[in-house]
Symmetry: C2
Subunit: 309 residues, 2 copies
């Protein structure tokens, strides 16, 4: 089965790791949100792309889900001594990624090429594509501070400000990265990972021709919300800020008529009857490496079941 | 006594450290070459300025004379894994300096302000000034490779190409940094440190109004050449490339009519009679912390002797 996964950061990376345990490299393409990308200390940083790459490379910190395994923070500590900003926790290993990526971008390489080069160096066999080679910037309009850049909202303000609306600056002129539309065309199914619908998946779906390319495809989504809460990140809070009660059902409605099927956690089994599309009830909380594979298997099973109809 | 020291990297930093052991902060200003500055990975790097600051802060690596004490190279090792350039040995602690300096430059701060801020954070009490806030780039024209940037010549090619000529791009529009001309005006004497005359001191002397400001001043120099060789770096080799036999005398002639006195190593005592200016014969090889103070004392003694005349 040929699968395309749309992914944000930690939750997406975990499910994608499950797929990578099951599918050969040729049968899995991962399209990653770049709306969170930002420039810090003059360096081009791609948090979601790095989380997905580090995870598949076995280099991710298993405690946090992001950042590098056995990371040190010597540079950051010395920046702090100088009175520089330390709100974004860049580790020494992670820093190498940002430095070398920035160097190559300045040289004229495309983000998708650079990502391919990095994956090769790290031994990642499955294809990971940034959603676009053109910059898209997620901007969060808040009641308390007005419009904030994603990292200001997410890291600096710890997701505390109340979200009024979200927009993706640059989305009008950003094109899907080379290979993205082609991978979707060839896919048997598209999987929307348990990532933040507002901040991680919407930027991908908002890309030129992207949503249209999905219209003839089977698309299934995994809920990032369990019992009205998110495992990590502000998805549930943003639903509330937007006046919507956070739930698996709310996630499926967010994706509107895009979905052919949905996976929700067994803790939300009661809500299954409220769905108008086929659902699969399973364990969506990926605590272990095996949980990741198990959830990926459940997704593939649902897709196979839907294929029968 | 009010002293201004003109300094390059390691040799200059050592003598300046000797002065810092003898003179109170108000009586010593150090003007540092910035012709070696360059941009690497998008970061603004000031090798000489950092060497002088690290040395006075007690943060310099005593083995190499440059770089940081107890340095680690985690980021550089990870850049190498990605296939990135590792010819310039940036350590993790050192990297913090380049990142925070670049961030402040992008914010609009001047190099001299940033240097003051860093010195304060590091507890350096003596005033260290970059020679200029405007970029000056030392370019080395070589027989083998044509014109090379300083770092390409110095680090990448290990000073092996034969030097035809040296020029300082940007020197015409670079002004001495705020405080430089004022410090010279107030100084009782100017000390040219045992730095590379061609690469470290000439860029300072080539600055607009700089040489003129020295014309009414007592200027003494310490030879960076002992027995026809340099302790570190390519000074002796460049003299040869230029068709001049490298010696303490050649250094003093290089500075032409600028000097009132000169300090040469006891190994070169025989050449003392060839000088047309007063000389002091001493130990110029600064192996220990005490050697630095001793040489600085010798310089101050020579200045006092010259003052009597």
């Amino acid at each position: 089965m040929n699968i395309v996964a749309l992914a944000g950061g930690v939750g997406g990376a975990k499910l994608v790791d499950g797929f990578a345990q099951l599918l050969p490299p040729g049968n899995l393409t991962i399209i990653v949100n770049t709306g969170d990308d930002f420039v810090h200390f003059g360096l081009y940083i791609c948090p979601d792309l790095d989380t997905v790459c580090y995870t598949l490379a076995g280099l991710a910190n298993p405690e946090t889900g992001w950042g590098r395994l056995n990371e040190t923070f010597t540079t950051l500590e010395n920046i702090k001594t100088l009175g520089g900003p330390d709100w974004f926790r860049i580790g020494d290993k992670d820093l190498a990624t940002h430095l070398e990526r920035s160097r190559r971008l300045h040289e004229g390489q495309l983000l998708s090429q650079i990502t391919q080069g990095f994956c090769q160096a790290w031994g990642v066999k499955h294809l990971i594509l940034p959603m676009s080679n053109q910059p898209v910037r997620t901007l969060v309009d808040t009641i308390e501070y007005g419009e904030l850049s994603f990292q200001e909202y997410f890291v600096h303000h710890n997701c505390e400000p109340t979200v009024k609306s979200i927009r993706f600056a640059g989305i009008g002129s950003a094109r899907p990265a080379p290979g993205v539309l082609d991978a979707i065309k060839k896919a048997d199914a598209i999987v929307i990972c348990p990532s933040n619908p507002w901040l991680s998946i919407d930027p991908i779906l908002a890309l030129m021709n992207l949503r249209y390319s999905l219209s003839s495809k089977m698309v299934v989504a995994v809920s990032p919300i369990i019992s009205g809460k998110t495992v990590k990140g502000p998805a549930a809070k943003i639903f509330k800020d937007m006046g919507i009660s956070p739930s698996a059902l709310a996630v499926s409605l967010h994706y509107n008529n895009l979905l052919s099927g949905f996976l929700l956690d067994s803790l939300d089994a009661d809500s299954a009857k409220e769905f108008s599309i086929p659902v699969r009830i399973t364990n969506t909380l990926m605590k272990t490496h095996d949980d990741r594979r198990q959830l990926a298997e459940d997704v593939l099973n649902l897709i196979q079941t839907l294929n029968v109809f």
